[in-house]
Symmetry: C2
Subunit: 205 residues, 2 copies
Amino acid sequence: MTREISDSEAARHREKMVNRKSVQDAEVAEKTIEKGLLMVNTGPGKGKSTAAFGLALRMLGTGRRVGIVQFIKGAWSTGEQQALTIFGDRVEWRTMGEGFTWDTQDLKRDLAAATKAWDEAKMLMADETIGLLVLDELNIALRYDYLDLTEVVATLQSRRPDLHIIVTGRNAKPPLIEAADMVTEMTLVKHHFKAGVKAQSGIEY
Amino acid sequence: MTREISDSEAARHREKMVNRKSVQDAEVAEKTIEKGLLMVNTGPGKGKSTAAFGLALRMLGTGRRVGIVQFIKGAWSTGEQQALTIFGDRVEWRTMGEGFTWDTQDLKRDLAAATKAWDEAKMLMADETIGLLVLDELNIALRYDYLDLTEVVATLQSRRPDLHIIVTGRNAKPPLIEAADMVTEMTLVKHHFKAGVKAQSGIEY
C-alpha cells in the first residue's frame, strides 16, 4: 500500500517545505507577547468541557496547578474528576452545581449554587499557585441570569497577568466573547444519539 | 448582586422543569444501543487534539486503558504526554511523526513515519485491553495521501464492537465523516495569535 515517490517529486516537496518553513518561522518570530489568556469554548457541539479538561492535563504536564469550578454538572461524578484525583492537591476541584436545572427543578437553589460557584472561582483566581482556571458551564449560569454578566466579565478581565482562564458552555454571551483572547465554537456535524446510541461510560461521563 | 426570586417565579420555573425532565427522560429511554464509537474532531479551530486527550482522561477515570498514536506532532514533547506518564502503562503512547512536514522537509520520511504510525494503530486496535484509541492528526496523513484512505476507513469500520476510536486533524475526508458515529467541527471565532500573542507552555504545548 505504500506510495511510490520519485526523486523529482521528493525534490519539489523539499523546496516547497523550505519556503513554507521560512514563512512559518517569520510568523512565529512576530509573536512575542506572553499573557494569561481568557479562552471560551462554546457552540452546540461536543468537546467544550472535554477540551478544557485536556488543557488542564497539558497545564499539569508543565508542573503547574489547575483550578476547576463546575457550575452545573455537579450531580454526576465524571470520569475526568476520577482520573484527576491521581494528581492529588495539584488540582483544586469545586463542584457547586447540583445538576441540570431540570433535575433540581428549584430556581432558588440553582441560583444559590451558581453564586457559590462564582465565589469559589474568585477565590481560585486569587490563588497565585494556579496556572489555569477552568470555569466549566459558566456560560449556562450566565445564560439563565444566575450571575451578573457585567460583574463576571469585569472580574475575568481583571485577572492577574499570568493566569489562564477557560470558560465553557453553549451560548456564550457577546460581552464575554468580546473580552476573550480566544473563542472556539464547537459545531455538531453528526451525533450518535440521533442513531439511538446511549450515553456510555468513558465517553459521555 | 444576588437576584431576587418571587414565589410565583419559582413555581413557574418548577412546573417548566418538571415538564422538561419528562421529555429528557423519555429521550434517554429511547437510546439503548451500546457500541464502540468512531469519532472525528475536525475543523480549523483549536481543541481538536485537546478534546481527544480530555476524552482519554475520562476513559482513564473509568479504569480502562487508552492508546494514543501521534501521526504528526512527534517532534515536540507535549504537556499532555508528560502529564499522562502519571498513569504508567495504562496509556500506550506511540509517537511516529517527526514533526510538521515543513520541519522534516522530507516526503519519503513523512510517508514512512505515517505508515509506521498506521501499523502501530492497527496493533493497538487488536489489543483488547484498550477502551479508547486516539489517532491524533490522522486526518493530516490522509490529506497528504500518506495513507490509503479506503484501507484506513475500512479498517476503522471493522474495529471490535467495544472499541472507541477518536480521529483528529483538520480537513477530515468525506468518507471518514460518512463512516463516523460522531463528528465535531471546531471553528475559530477568535484567536490570540492574531493579536501577537506567542505559543505558551501549558496552553499550546
